[in-house]
């Protein structure tokens, strides 16, 4: 029997080595695997390279991981936000290396890693600072940059529901980087609201097939989903 379900988040993140490259899903708070990041904080791996769209918000999740000094390098598109003070301070102090990648190139590089594409030509970034050091090639009269795949040892992502094979469905804009990160990492770890019976997910609507998933952990349903009322949920954004 294939059973990718883990008992708790500690078991889900077990074995992440120092020096690993870890992709972390989410766009702002939506889809950010907060409970897995907390478990990674607890687990202790250090000298990490993190690939994520943002560089953390407030003091929790990715911001806390960065604040702990365990992230050596971050690859992202939008580190600076109104509440990214933890990253900001560390970056200004020279305590973290930043590779800034336009969001679409970030997504496509992650997709390329999962899809076995050795590299691709993109018009995004031509003539800008992010083109520095990159091959430029004119195709059909338009300049393109060569971009290379972005792989990871681990992906930590958040989905809505999973079955024990690791098939995933997401919810609204929390889908964002989940499907492509799941395919780009050697080991993909997913937190979900709920694990359902095999066969309970409609095969037409599975977004990430279990082939891309290694470990699944249920972190409990969020009260605001159950109630259909989102009073006070603003503070969770």
């Amino acid at each position: 029997m294939i059973d990718r379900v883990r008992a708790d988040t500690a078991e889900a993140v077990a074995g992440i080595e120092d020096g690993s490259t870890v992709m972390i899903g989410g766009f702002g708070r939506a889809g950010q695997p907060v409970e897995l990041i907390d478990a990674l904080l607890e687990q202790g791996a250090t000298d990490l390279t993190v690939v994520s769209n943002n560089a953390g918000n407030g003091d929790v999740g990715l911001a806390a991981l960065i604040g702990s000094g365990r992230v050596q390098r971050i690859v992202c598109s939008f580190p600076r936000q109104s509440d990214s003070y933890v990253f900001d301070a560390r970056y200004r102090a020279g305590g973290i290396e930043l590779e800034l990648v336009p969001q679409g190139n970030l997504a496509e590089r992650i997709r390329a890693a999962g899809a076995g594409i050795g590299g691709f030509y993109t018009p995004t970034g031509v003539g800008t600072l992010v083109a520095e050091g990159k091959e430029v090639r004119t195709i059909d009269g338009r300049d393109h940059l060569l971009e290379l795949p972005l792989r990871a040892d681990y992906a930590l992502i958040s989905a809505f529901k999973a079955d024990r094979w690791g098939n995933l469905v997401y919810r609204k804009t929390a889908r964002n980087f989940g499907p492509i990160m799941a395919a780009a990492a050697r080991t993909t770890i997913v937190q979900v609201d709920e694990v359902v019976e095999l066969g309970a997910l409609d095969p037409e609507t599975v977004v990430t097939p279990g082939i891309f998933v290694d470990r699944v952990v249920a972190v409990g349903e969020r009260a605001w989903l159950e109630a259909g009322e989102f009073v006070g949920a603003e503070s969770a954004l």
Binding site: F27, G28, R29, A30, G31, N53, S77, F78, P79, R80, Q81, D88, Y91, R92, L98, L100, V101, P102, Q103, G104, N105, A107, E108, I110, R111, T122, P123, T124, G125, V126, G127, T128, L129, V130, Y170, R171, K172, T173, A174, R175, N176, F177, G178, P179, I180, V207, R222, W224, E229, F230, V231, G232, A233, E234, A236, L237
Partner: protein, 225 residues
């Protein structure tokens, strides 16, 4: 007092140029205001790069769904006909030329349509580009919404950008508080001047040889078939 129109008036002005059926991405900040002025009853589809078409307005108080955000991480809603997709698919839409219009803010726009809107290049500045470069090169029509002058009174329309670029020759139209400019071969054309400004004054403020096209109706291209 400023002789220009205010942001909301400008947002409403831009909204009038968006044809029914367009797929539109409104950038973070001021361009987001345009959504409030899209004509009731016309179907215009909003794209948000974090994976959605058919985005609706902000939710009512107490109805915020933390899984449903726009690119500025603000809560939004879903309209009938919406669709969700992942980030690679979302940027494939942009890069593949499927968006009709995007509206972006700007630090500077050059008279050849170069855009600078992501980085001051200053020492100590933390760069953050997000999806701006992808939008700038991807949408069929890239519009800029901005004040003509910085707070210090310097023109944002320039012969050549001095800030780091977002995209090269990508802007097609610039909506400012004083006038509307089109980027055409050979420079900028003024298609409309708002009350309180004049073409002479605009030439003075920008130092650019602006062509007068205020008599010509403007055209927006959309997906037509």
């Amino acid at each position: 007092m400023s002789p220009g129109i205010d942001r909301r008036t400008l947002a409403a002005r831009i909204a009038r140029d968006i044809p029914e059926g367009s797929v539109v991405n409104l950038g973070i900040g001021a361009p987001t205001l345009i959504a409030d002025y899209l004509p009731e009853g016309l179907e215009i589809i909003l794209h948000t790069e974090n994976g959605m078409l058919g985005m609706g307005p902000a939710p009512q108080a107490g109805r915020v769904d933390p899984d449903l955000l726009n690119a500025g991480k603000q809560p939004v809603t879903e309209l009938p006909g919406a669709a969700y997709f992942h980030h690679a698919d979302s940027f494939a839409m942009m890069r593949g030329g499927h968006l009709d219009i995007c509206v972006l803010g700007a630090f500077q726009v050059s008279e050849t349509g170069d855009l600078a809107n992501w980085h001051t290049g200053g020492p100590g500045a933390i760069p953050a580009v997000g999806g701006a470069m992808d939008l700038a090169i991807g949408a069929k029509n890239v519009y800029v919404m901005t004040d003509l002058l910085t707070r210090d009174g310097v023109s944002k329309l320039v012969a050549e950008c001095t800030y780091p670029l977002t995209g090269v020759r990508c802007v097609s139209r610039i909506y400012t508080d004083r006038a509307v400019f089109d980027v055409v071969d050979g420079g900028l054309e003024v298609s409309e001047v708002f009350a309180g400004s004049s073409l002479e004054e605009l030439r003075d403020l920008t130092g650019l040889a602006l062509r007068d096209a205020t008599g010509t109706p403007s055209v927006t291209s959309g997906r037509t078939s």
